[in-house]
């Protein structure tokens, strides 16, 4: 049984400080309207789980928050900085917001340790020895310090994903975004990644997680968001969300997935 399922609801420490604010945000891919009038406020320490059918725009939403995708209308304000064309802001945002991808996106030509120290050394201008120390600390935390000198291709999917989480943490982000982190993993490896994420949630990190792992959502989420066709259809506390889904579309989705 996964830690995520046995743990019970985590206590959370949400402050009133706003980390992410999205106002009336719209995005199109060509003529296709992907995100429609999205409003979203995330406070410091808050943990949000986003779910919904594929093509509903949930990945696009968090990619917009990390400025990997451009939005066309409305505002996204991350840690007090408004996203826009300003490249300097962009680089700043990306160092504050960590992101974990479905396909890990580790750098296959570098060792695990080099993957982890690259950002701190080149972007944060940290001394090499300090960067290695930080990297080893986070590798301990994701429980694979002995793999430091291997290459990503020599590790299992679950291990790679934990390295990817550690790589983001090495930059000292204030917010962590997860884009379906367990979807590309074998069932046996999902648990180890979810446990790592639960550990991270316990430290009070602000997190937005796109996932279909409902057990995980019940454990760590302060709120669950359900998206469909570019709209945020429903947003609620997890216990309410799972026991009394309001919207018909949510009910249908949950009946198929649970």
């Amino acid at each position: 049984m996964s830690k995520a399922q046995t743990h019970g609801q985590l206590a959370s420490a949400i402050s009133t400080e706003v980390m992410i604010e999205v106002n009336k945000m719209n995005k199109w891919y060509g003529s296709f309207h992907v995100l429609k009038d999205i409003d979203l406020t995330v406070h410091k320490g808050e943990r949000i789980v986003v779910c919904g059918p594929s093509g509903s725009g949930k990945s696009t939403l968090i990619r917009c928050i990390n400025a990997l995708e451009e939005h066309q209308e409305g505002d996204i304000i991350v840690d007090g900085i408004k996203l826009g064309k300003n490249l300097k802001n962009l680089d700043h945002i990306r160092t504050e917001v960590g992101m974990v991808f479905q396909n890990f996106n580790l750098f296959p030509h570098l060792t695990i340790l080099e993957n982890l120290t690259l950002g701190p050394i080149w972007v944060r201008k940290m001394a090499k020895a300090d960067a290695i120390e930080t990297a080893m600390m986070y590798l301990e935390r994701v429980k694979i310090p002995e793999q430091a000198n291997k290459y990503p291709g020599q590790m299992s999917g679950g291990q790679q994903q934990r390295v990817a989480i550690a790589r983001s943490l090495c930059m000292g982000p204030k917010i962590m975004l997860f884009d379906e982190p367990t979807s590309a993993l074998d069932p046996e490896m999902i648990k180890e990644v979810l446990d790592t994420m639960v550990d991270l949630a316990e430290t009070g990190m602000t997190m937005i997680v796109v996932t279909h792992e409902m057990g995980f959502a019940k454990t760590i989420a302060d709120e669950v968001i359900f998206m469909d066709e570019g709209d945020i259809v429903e947003r609620n506390k997890p216990e309410e969300f799972f026991s009394h889904p309001e919207h018909e579309r949510t009910q249908k989705f949950l009946s198929q997935i649970l």
């Binding site: 991808f101 996106n105 060792t111 972007v123 944060r124 983001s168």
Partner: protein, 442 residues
């Protein structure tokens, strides 16, 4: 009913047909009557060819003779290698003055030493070695080969090249003997500890500056005699042209490829146009354009020598081909790599230089070396516009009075030379591929 297997099935050795030589022969060469006949037939054809070549090239061949007539007197059916041997210096060096040949040999040995660390697995700082060769060696070699008066620029560059060479050698030796870089070695032998410290970095820079001064004084005391480029020729000229082509095609190709993939429309259109124009024209046309048309566009009195024009043409032509190779390599890298790099805050150049390029170049090695081999062979086209490169020299043998009409042997000798060089390049590329794919085991 449930099935539970309590014991592991033990492993057994493979059947003899999978492991023995006889098994291999049977499976691959004599698996059916038809295949057996084919095998025997092919073996017979190979035997005929090889024995024919052996008799012509060795048994009946003449190695010592004064003229082609003497070859015939000796044997009518064998090869006349005497002509090739008589012309060997011309084939390798062209009409370069015989008493100055040491300069070419010395230049070659210098290059071999400079690049030696690239072949030694344990040596560190290979990128720096490669970069310093490309940046400085051409000036040193350029002066060594052409000689004459050194202008101030040449004096500075030659001194810089000497300093770079010495540092490289010292670095390689320190690395092999002490497992340190030369900077660490100097610092630690001066009784200090930390090479990253600012005052010590200044000390190292001071040492380099002093070294430069010494090199400058030393080089200003010697000169070598002027040799006009019109006397350059043979394999030497081929290697000069293709060497410069190879060294500059890759950097040029990377710049053009990045330009073609740029988000800035002007840069993109310019790069694309440049690449497409050069790629859609045969090299020989570009060479003719460079030597006959280009001077027409230049202001009056502006005379570039033909060799420089040819080299510029070869460089541009090959940079455009290389650009397409590089672009293909860049496109093979998944988009996720750039996104991963962005999320740890790397900008455009950081992403390109640290993440995308190293991976792309690794995938491209076979194609890059393929282009290099093509470039080396393409340079023989310069013999058409009147430079006496190796092909020009080989063909001149048949016009030399004693060896009149001797075509076959020189060209076969040339083919063997090219094969040796190209095969070595191809082997080296294979070796690089294997070495660099260490992290690629998926």
């Amino acid at each position: 009913m449930a099935i539970v297997k309590a014991t592991k099935t033990p492993e057994r050795p493979a059947p003899i047909s999978e492991t023995s030589i006889l098994g291999w022969l049977q499976k691959n060469l004599f698996s059916s009557v038809f295949n057996s006949v084919l095998t025997l037939l092919t073996t017979y054809i190979i035997y005929l060819t090889i024995s024919g070549v052996y008799v012509w090239g060795f048994v009946d061949a003449t190695f010592v003779a004064e003229t082609r007539r003497e070859c015939y007197d000796n044997s009518l059916t064998g090869a006349c290698w005497a002509g090739v041997i008589d012309w060997l210096d011309n084939i390798f060096y062209g009409r370069y003055p015989r008493e100055e040949l040491w300069r070419i040999n010395f230049g070659g040995i210098l290059l071999a030493f400079w690049m030696a660390p690239l072949w030694i697995t344990r040596a560190k700082g290979k990128v720096l070695v490669g970069a310093s060769v490309v940046a400085f060696y051409p000036f040193l070699a350029g002066y060594l080969f052409s000689g004459g008066d050194k202008g101030l620029f040449m004096q500075v560059m030659v001194s810089a090249a000497i300093v770079a060479f010495v540092i490289n050698m010292a670095n390689a030796i320190a690395g092999l003997l002490k497992q340190q870089s030369i900077a660490q070695f100097v610092i630690s032998s001066l009784g200090q500890t930390n090479a990253a410290d600012k005052s010590q970095r200044n000390l190292l820079i001071a040492l380099v500056v002093v070294g430069f001064g010494v090199a400058y004084l030393w080089q200003s005391s010697w000169t070598v005699e002027f040799v006009s480029w019109t006397k350059w020729g043979g394999l030497f000229l081929t290697l000069v042209i293709s060497g410069i082509g190879i060294a500059s095609a890759l950097p040029g190709g990377i710049i053009l490829a990045l330009g073609r993939r740029s988000k800035l429309p002007v840069l993109r259109v310019l790069s694309t146009g440049f690449i497409e124009i050069f790629r859609s024209v045969p090299l020989i046309t570009v060479l003719f354009m460079a030597t006959t048309m280009f001077p027409l566009f230049m202001p009056e009195g502006f005379v570039l020598n033909k060799l420089v024009q040819v080299i510029i043409a070869v460089v541009l032509f090959n940079a455009c081909y290389m650009a397409e190779t590089v672009r293909a390599g860049l496109q093979a890298i998944p988009k996720g790599q750039a996104e991963g790099a962005h999320t740890i805050g790397l900008g455009y150049w950081g992403t390109m230089g640290l993440i995308i390029m190293p991976q792309a170049l690794k995938h491209m090695i076979p194609n890059i070396v393929g282009s290099f081999i093509g470039l080396l062979k393409d340079t023989t086209l310069v013999s058409i516009i009147g430079l006496f490169d190796i092909l020009g020299m080989l063909r001149s043998i048949s016009k030399d009075i004693p060896w009149l009409g001797l075509h076959k042997e020189p060209l076969i000798f040339g083919a063997i030379l090219f094969f040796i060089i190209c095969f070595a390049m191809s082997k080296y590329s294979r070796h690089l591929e294997v070495k660099l794919s260490a992290g690629d085991r998926h």
